[in-house]
Amino acid sequence: MDWVLFALIAIPVGAVLVFMLIPSRYPQLVRNVAVVSGFAMFVLSVLVFVKYEFGGGSGLRFDLQLDWLENVAFLGENGITYHLAVDGISAPMVLLTGIVIFAGVFISWNIDYRNKDYFVLLFLLVSGVFGVFLSLDLFFLFFFYEVAVLPMYLLIAVWGASSHFGTFTRTKEYAAMKLVLYLVGGSVLIFIGIIATFMEAGQGTFDLPVLGAVTYDENFQKAVFPLFALGFGILAGLWPFHTWSPDGHVAAPTAVSMLHAGVLMKLGAFGILRVAITLFPEGAEFWAPVLMTLGVTGALYGAVSAMAQRDLKYMVGYSSVSHMGFVLMGLATLTTIGVNGAVLQMFAHGVMTALMFAMVGAVYDQAHVRDMTLFGGLAQKTPRLAAFFAIAGLSSLGLPGLAGFVAEFHIFVGTFRAGYEWAGVLGILAAAITATYILRMLAMAFFGPFNERWAGLKEMRLGEQFGGALLIVFIVFMGVWPAPFIDRISESVEFILRV
């Protein structure tokens, strides 16, 4: 069964090659191939998630190891290996990626300006994301981490949209350049961390399980943990380093911002958990209060600034920053419940934000304006779009029965259990503020008297509706019955936290 993981990365890369071959005169053929490979990835990711069961040990399933570079210079026996495996944390993340890309392909159905190059870059992005979630070799984790960042520039700069505020405009080139440079800047820290860890471990291999087995000395952990935490944290929207994410996601085309906010930001948090916390437990304990403070500030800061936004997409961008703040809070608790909550929130937020961005994209495609004060009573014109948007919003404000509540509840409980009462209270306050800006947006844009200007608005395209419905299925599924997620995650988290 371990070919599944290889296939998961091979399909997007294969699709990229197939796209290259298709002459750009057949956009429809490109879209069909995209849908087929999207569906294949979705099925495989669901298969991986369903067939994964823990059963003790380090919980690594579908293990596949192909050596790539060994017995050369300082590299020992299996120096750098193409080592793929899934454990409790990465199984839901793989599922999330499968869902978001499948929905994303449908959402980006009407992109016709050079859509071949668009899908090439999009699938390159996806292969990078799958690579990070699956690879257990630090080299390849970093390799795929950068692959995921590489296509972002062109995706945003060519197909994105600049946003014009009264006093200044945020051009898409600026946003794209800032996003790519910020993330690659973050990866500088990770690179240094990897080099230092490889040297310190002295095993001559980059394999995570092997590196994990080594116990590093106290001060080394305290010095290297912040490198990883900060490097990955930048992608996870850690508070002071989050400014790239609202600008980047707003300028990106819909499917890209869905994929980026929905999945790529989870890469950062996943990296912190998979690399930083697994390898350096004492370092984590030492830095946990700082991470918690930044997480809480991020959550509150994101929520409050989301409230002041007039642009619909910026509001969703800042809400992602706020929710990622919750994830970081969860990670910082270093308790099973808290970290569980963090992973659940990664999944829940992934699906929610993807849906919200999809809906904002649907509105933008027809209305070509994103200022929510200009809208009014859209629910009467496009009831289904309003309903989908409402569900995403309600899930993000933590309404029970939807994915948001389960995750946030775990995080708050974990924060209290870890003794950070102040953080817990502030976190719950941030959740309340989330409620204000979500409801304010719903009231302003979708409910209230109908604004005649939008008489020409039609209901969402079929593709968007299908993509949205797919996401809602998982929001409700996790909200109503989170047991399958939690069982998988908790065992692996217990293994990681050595509890």
């Binding site: 210079a73 950068e146 700069a157 060519v158 440079l181």
Partner: protein, 494 residues
């Protein structure tokens, strides 16, 4: 004490020398031969020399104690031969349209490849110096080859004057080392330097400094890099490619051999200096490149930046193992291939438009999608992005440097390789987002695109599966460093 005078060992060099002469004569006497066909002849000669070099793989002899014929030499002979091939192919159309006396042009290229080969093979100071001068002289002339273009003359003049000046300094350094160690052969120098050198400290270090300065000039390390931007901008485009590929590669081949074999006993003294030089080179190269508007000057500074990374390999040399050397050579191969890919693409674009400013690349993606893709791949590889050669080679180079306790240098290197991404992205932005002058597609030059595809394939090969390339490189590096260990045991002077 008989010398191994088996002349057959030098066949690749004979092919090159003979070829050069033939090309010149062909141009003079065979009127009907069109200029670009000369390029294919020269390329064939270079290819022949590269292939014949393969005969002596896994061989370990020397020719009259002047030249080592081992894996290291074989590796670099093939490498320089291929660079020569690509240089000739790339300049075929350029020379036909813009330059005269094509014969001498290709002759000089072959001679420079010959010089480079000998530089890598030299096992003693005099041969090294002579081959260095051969390479430098041919490059001086080639740089000022566009007789009526003021910029080419100025570039050539500066390169030549400063080159002569720094080779004089290099020579003075060699003199000092010869004085101290009594011999010019690397192995013997290493033996005498590892002995007690209490008496000659001053002279030895002066010699070492001067040699570092001389070689520093050749590879464009920071304080000695001033000529590079002007020479690159002045020289005709294929020659800029040649300087950045052949000049740098040969410079590092000699730098590595000299410091890996001759001065390895003093490694603890000069390690820090090379490291500081490398850090400064990275910093200046990458930071000033951001300011550039001309593509050739941008590539000049980017190659200075890359030199900074390469020098890390030398700073990380250690008698115990050949890790640093193999990492350095691997990155050198990766750098040269990516650099050539970029230059070939720019040459093709120059042949169409005749312009060098970055803003002239606006809309290149619409007018020549494949070219834009190849250029972006080259740039991403240079900046160390995954999927491409730069990522794997830089990763291993930085790790090798860190192994020798130069973690601070690796961190600076990683930071500046991230800075380099910025100015490459500027060009890519221009290509993909700019508005082209007129939307017509460019005609596809099949030959150059063939060369380009080969180079891009090379970039992908090293990027995605470097094991085979790395094994070859490691053999060369181990062969070179092995001589150093053997030298540890003092042998009778010749």
């Amino acid at each position: 004490m008989e010398l191994n005078l088996d002349w057959s060992l030098l066949t690749p060099e004979y092919i090159l020398a003979g070829g050069a002469g033939m090309v010149v004569l062909l141009d003079l006497f065979w009127g009907r031969l069109r200029k670009d066909q000369l390029a294919y002849v020269a390329a064939a000669v270079a290819l022949a020399s590269a292939l014949t070099a393969l005969i002596w793989v896994n061989d370990d002899t020397n020719f009259a104690n002047l030249i080592d014929i081992d894996n290291y030499t074989a590796l670099f002979r093939v490498f320089f031969g291929l660079i020569g091939v690509f240089a000739c192919l790339a300049s075929a159309r350029f020379v036909k349209d813009r330059l005269l006396h094509a014969g001498e042009y290709y002759g000089l290229i072959l001679l420079s490849v010959l010089g480079a080969n000998l530089m890598a093979a030299a096992s003693e100071l005099l041969t090294a110096y002579i081959s260095l001068e051969l390479l430098s002289f041919s490059l001086y002339v080639l740089t000022s080859y566009a007789k009526f273009d003021l910029r080419s003359n100025e570039g050539g003049l500066k390169y030549m004057l400063l080159g002569a000046f720094s080779s004089a300094i290099f020579l003075y350094g060699i003199g000092m080392i010869y004085g101290v160690s009594g011999s010019t052969r690397f192995s013997e120098i290493a033996a005498s330097l590892s002995g007690d050198t209490a008496g000659f400290d001053m002279a030895m270090f002066l010699g070492l400094v001067l040699i570092i300065a001389g070689l520093g000039f050749k590879v464009a390390a920071v304080p000695f890099h001033m000529w590079t931007p002007d020479a690159y901008e002045g020289a005709p485009l294929p020659i800029t490619a040649l300087i950045s590929a052949l000049g740098k590669a040969a410079g590092f081949a000699l730098f590595l051999k000299l410091f890996g074999q001759a001065f390895i006993p003093l490694v603890d003294d000069w390690r820090v200096f090379i490291a500081v030089l490398s850090a400064m080179t990275m910093a200046l190269g990458n930071l000033v490149a951001i300011q550039q508007r001309n593509i050739k000057r941008l590539l000049a500074y980017s190659s200075i930046g890359q030199v900074g990374f390469l020098m890390m390999g030398i700073a990380a040399l250690t008698p115990e193992n050949a890790d640093a050397a193999s990492a350095l050579v691997l990155h050198l191969v990766g750098y040269v291939i990516s650099n050539l890919a970029v230059f070939v693409a720019i040459i093709i674009y120059y042949n169409w438009t005749g312009k060098e400013e970055i803003s002239d690349f606006a809309g290149a993606a619409e007018r020549a999608p494949y070219l834009a893709l190849a250029l972006s791949i080259g740039f991403f590889s240079l900046s160390g992005m995954p999927l491409f050669a730069g990522f794997a080679t830089k990763f291993i180079l930085f790790q090798a440097a860190a192994e020798q306790g130069l973690l601070w240098l690796s961190s600076i290197a990683v930071f500046f390789s991230f800075v380099s991404l910025y100015y490459y992205l500027i060009v890519i932005k221009e290509m993909y987002l700019g508005k082209p002058a007129e939307p017509t597609r460019f005609p596809t030059p099949w030959l150059e695109y063939g060369a380009l595809t080969l180079l891009v394939a090379g970039v992908f090969l090293i990027g995605l599966y470097p094991q085979p390339v790395f094994d070859i490189v490691e053999e060369g590096a181990v062969a070179m460093m092995a001589v150093a260990e053997a030298a540890g045991t003092v042998t009778a002077p010749p």
